[in-house]
Amino acid sequence: MTAKDWIVPLAILAAAVVLAPLPLVAGSYWMALLVNVLMYAVLATAWALFSGPTHYVSLATAAFFGLGAYTMAFLGEKLPLALVYPVAALIGAVIATIVGLSTLRLSGVYFVIFTFGLAELVRQLVTWAEAKYGGTVGRFVFIDVTQQGIYWMLLGMLVLVLLTGFLVQRSRLGWALKAIGEDETVARHAGIDTTVSKVAVFVISATFMTVVGAIMAPRWTYIDPSIAFNPIISFQVLIMALLGGAARLYGPILGVVPLAILFEILQANFPNSFSILLGLAFLVIVYFVPSGIVGLIDQGRDVLGRAGRRRAHPAE
């Protein structure tokens, strides 16, 4: 790599170093907010890893997140904690491979609908299995992880997902995905194994989501399928990534920060009309910021660039 190639990873690490000491000074309210922002930052970046270049809109985030949370609930007290996260990652990867292989030949709306239903399906299966074999539907999670611990783990995951994204974008795989997003048939004719490329990145993305679920589970002392597999998670991740802009690695984070804070405030102050406000936020973003904040930045840069050129060549 040349010197220029080191800038992005170094910037990511530097930002993490700056953010790492925050739990030492923040109060519990701010900690809760920070953990929330970080959680969505990892989820949205992981989502955009796959959906950004391919334009396959996935709504399966909640399915993988919930799987991770349930892995922690099941194994948290049976295995050493340091082992639970890799196990969760493995489970996420295996399920994502199965889901990916069987559904990624669906495209467009069929894929959206399938992933839309996947979380619902997993939730119903878990509910059914818990009611039948577990006796109760809910489950207590008594695992000794502090708020700070969760924060640091999530920060580590954010660094990891950003670095992964950086490496994927620069690799052949990244180019293959972009080609698939442009035109899948053309990509196939150009000799790209579209299935392998799509499944590989889908699995990477889902594995991150599953681990985030496992990290977050101790935050609730009680989980049930409707908490762990809450479809709102998928929707929020989607809208955050879109607001930021899924075309760039750092894009989703730009959307996560304002929206995570906004949703937090709305949920605290208007719990009854939260759904309406969430819907309106969706509509506003779709109609007025279709290419995301990243798109706005690019437009702004274009305008500035043109103005700059005009100043340099006043005759034109």
């Binding site: 467009g108 959206v112 619902e120 399906l121 759904s275 309406i276 969430l278 509509l283 779709v286």
Partner: protein, 291 residues
Amino acid sequence: MFLVDVILSGLILGGIYALIAMGLSLQYGVARIMNLAYGEFTIAASFLAYVMFTLAGVSPILALAVAMPASFALNWAIYRVLMTPLVKRAKSPGALEVDSILATFGLLFVVQGILLMIFGGSYVSYSYLAVPVQIIGSTVALNRLLAAGLAVAIALALTLFLMRTRIGTAIRAVSVNPAAAPLVGIDTTAYAAFAFGLGGALVAASGVLVSMFFTFNAAMGVVFTMKALIVVIMGGVGNIFGALIAGLILGLAESLTAAFLDGGLTLAVNFALFLAILLIRPTGLFGKAAR
């Protein structure tokens, strides 16, 4: 005759699913809008019937006469105001698909939020014509039978309308080839809006019919959307006959699962069926064109 019971109730359920899905099939097949707020409109119509019945004692049949035109107008307006800008902006059919999915998500939450504010989250139902009727040695509630009968009647009326009238022919033309339809003087946007409204009228009808025998709450729209989508995709997008067959299959599968396997697994079985059909025939049972 336990098996007859199960099959009969499956067919009745399937007829209603088919009706729910026909509206969506029209909206997606003709107007090319994948309306994910669809189930919310079903539930809204159910609540309308519930309010009219419990507050004023108005029969659900009359509620149909109110809900269908109202929902037609509302959905027509939604297409004109919310969807037309997206149609104009879209560079490709794929872009419109994604945009419309996202916009109707927003709509889903808004409608659901409004329903939650008015009615809260609790389950409601009302008792209308809950009288047992004997058919082929099996007992069915009259309200279910009536709902299924009306569903069939509405489906027949729709089919005749699409097949036998000028407007119906134009709608089918837009559905088959939206690019070529203007060449023979068809105003595509106007017909797309009309079809979207018509789909809305059908969803309202199914909501009212379902409310006659079903316990529902404000958060349940997603379940109906899911089922309608499964039926539409299973049957082949835009294919009304396919929607009917797929609806019946789904209804049967559901009542057979509940009777012989486990009531908690109905959705899982539905979904497995959906996936199996998609994997064997990616365009659905009766779909033709790729994608």
